[in-house]
Structures are given as structure tokens and as C-alpha cells.
Amino acid sequence: MLKIDPVNLICTVVNLLVLFVALRVFLFKPVQKIIADRQAEADRQLAEAAAKQTEAETLRDQYSESLAQAEEEKRQMLKAAREDADAQYQRIVGEAKDKARQIEEKAVADAHAQKDQILKNTQQEIGDMVVDAVHKIAATQKNAETDKSLYEAFLIKAGEKQ
């Protein structure tokens, strides 16, 4: 149709405008709304997942921290126990050493005392024997042979005593 008719032209314009409004209301808006809603839902879920991940990471950090703390505590306790045991060991060994030294010292002192006693006794006896011998010499006044026999007798006596 090559005839231009203003009324039909305006009718077409109105038709197009009505169609535009109708499609906007019945087609574009609902579809865009549902797509936007879906996007929002996806965003929400993503945000939720991210929050959960952060939470899990925090928990993991807390856990590993407490684990490290426990490890440290264990180490400290072991160290303390070791130190305690060492101190006790040192104390016991020191005490034993002291005791041994005391025993040794006492033994040495006893031995010395005994030795002194023996020496004293011997000196006394030698003195007595000398006095005895001098008495015998003075009583007999014999010769050299007698002296010699006396001397030997003294020596034998002394050897027996010793």
C-alpha cells in the first residue's frame, strides 16, 4: 500500500507504544526481576560461604594456637621435671659423697689413733725392756761375749714383741 493515511499511521504508533508497555510489564520486567533475584540469591549464598570459610579459618587458627600452647606447656613441664630430677640426683649424690667422705675421714682418724696407740705401747715396752736390760747388765757385769748374747737376746725379744 503506497497510500499514506495519517490515522492509520497514528494507530500504528499507538499500537507500538502499547505493545512496548505491555511487553515491558509482561515480559522484560518479570524476566529481569527473576534474573536479578537469582543473582541476589547467588550473591547471598556466596557471601554466606565466604563467611563460613572465614569462620572455619578462625577456628582452625584457634585450634592450632591451642595445640601449640599445649605443646609448649608439655615442654615446660618436661623441662621442670627434668630439672627437678637433676636437682634431686645432685642432692642424693652429694649426700652420698659427704657420707663416704665422713666414713673415710673417720676411718683414717681411727687408723691414726690406733697407730699412735700402738707406737705409744711399743715405746713403753721398749723403755721397760731397756730398763730391764740395764738392770741385768748392771747385775752381771760380764764380758763382751755376755754383752753380745744379751744383745741378741734383746733383739729376739724385741722381734717377738714387734
Binding site: M1, L2, K3, I4, D5, V7, N8, L9, I10, C11, T12, V13, N15, L16, V18, L19, F20, A22, L23, R24, F26, L27, F28, P30, V31, Q32, I34, I35, D37, R38, E41
Partner: protein, 206 residues
């Protein structure tokens, strides 16, 4: 061939479906009432079909576990708007629904001939209306985005001498747009008619 030309002219003739009983004696065209052409009535049918299909397709839409129907309508809408958005760019986003509507209308109108209707785009009035609305939209968008001063300034660019040519371009662009669509549809129609004549020669049984 004369027969073909006659038939083509007959096919091109847009019939008056009914006449509104409003007589305007001052205008000879409307002296016997206002005629409503076939193109307008077919446009109404197209509108009804499009709106009905939209309403049916967008019923009970859900966010998840969507039905095949919803998937189809979402695919259609996102593809169509994506196509228009790709052409017009991010800044023209607010014009996308209108352009998609025009796209849908022209697409459906051109294919409506297959269902025994006369395609409305074969009527020059429809293509003029479409072209005029496009030009108005383009210029309105120009005024909106540039401001009236800058928009007016564009007519004397690059030199003021070309102002008449720039003004004329408004009209020629309109003419070019409406004639292009009209010519495309007319050409397609002529070719289809010729194929209809040629086919019995090659395939007599059809």
C-alpha cells in the same frame, strides 16, 4: 508477466478491514468515515499473540529448579536484549526494552505472512511509523544526553554552511529507514511469489 504484476499489486494493496463511523467532511479522505487498514488489524493480532505468549511464558517463574518453559523465555529475553545491548552499548541500556520490542515486532510481523496474514511491514504507513519513532527516539536521546544547546550545535558542525544539509538529513534518514524496511519486505515478497511461479516448472507435482 503482466499477470504477475497485477497479482503483486493486488497482494500489495492493503485492504480496509472496517471503517470507523466518524465522518470528517473537511478531509476528503475521511468523508465517509475513517478507514482502518489491514496492517493495523494484523498488528493488533500480533500484539495479542506476543502479549499472550509473554503472559503464558512468564507464569510461575522461580529462582531455582526452573521449568523448561522458564528456561526458554529467559534464554529468549537475554539473547534478544543481549543482541540489542551489544549493538547499542552500555550507555544506551535504558533504550534496550524499546529496541527489543521493535525487533520482536518486526521479526514477528515479517514472519506473519507465513500464517496467511498480510505482513504489516508491507504497508508503508507501518514502516513510516517505525522510522519516525526511531528518529524521534534518537533525537530525544541526543537532546537528553547532550543538552539542547549542544544538540542544536551539532547541526552547524563542522561549519555553519552545512546546517541545511544536516537538517535535511533528519528527513532523509527517516525516508531511508522506512523505505529500507518496506523495500526489504517487498523484495522478499516478490521473490517468494516468483519462486511460487517457478517451482511448478521444475517440480510439477508440488
Amino acid at each position: 508477466m503482466g499477470d504477475l504484476a497485477e497479482r503483486l499489486m493486488e497482494e500489495l494493496e492493503c485492504e480496509t478491514v472496517f471503517t470507523l463511523p466518524i465522518r470528517i467532511p473537511a478531509i476528503p479522505q475521511y468523508a465517509d468515515g475513517i478507514p482502518i487498514y489491514e496492517s493495523v488489524v494484523v498488528t493488533w493480532i500480533i500484539m495479542a499473540v506476543l502479549i499472550l505468549v509473554s503472559v503464558l511464558l512468564t507464569r510461575n517463574m522461580r529462582i531455582d529448579h526452573i521449568s523448561k518453559r522458564q528456561a526458554l523465555v529467559e534464554l529468549l529475553v537475554t539473547k534478544l536484549t543481549g543482541l540489542v545491548e551489544g549493538m547499542i552499548g552500555e550507555r544506551g541500556k535504558s533504550y534496550v526494552p524499546w529496541l527489543t520490542t521493535v525487533l520482536l515486532y518486526i521479526g514477528v510481523a515479517n514472519m506473519f505472512g507465513l500464517f496467511g496474514f498480510k505482513s504489516p511491514t508491507k504497508d508503508l504507513n507501518v514502516t513510516i511509523a517505525l522510522a519516525a519513532m526511531s528518529i524521534i527516539l534518537v533525537e530525544a536521546a541526543g537532546i537528553y544526553h547532550l543538552g539542547i544547546r549542544k544538540w542544536l550545535h551539532k547541526f552547524i558542525e563542522p561549519v555553519p554552511v552545512v546546517a541545511p544539509i544536516n537538517l535535511m538529513e533528519l528527513v532523509t534518514r527517516l525516508l531511508s529507514l522506512c523505505m529500507r524496511l518496506f523495500g526489504n519486505v517487498l523484495g522478499a515478497f516478490v521473490i517468494m511469489e516468483m519462486i511460487k511461479i517457478v517451482v511448478p516448472v521444475i517440480l510439477p507435482a508440488v
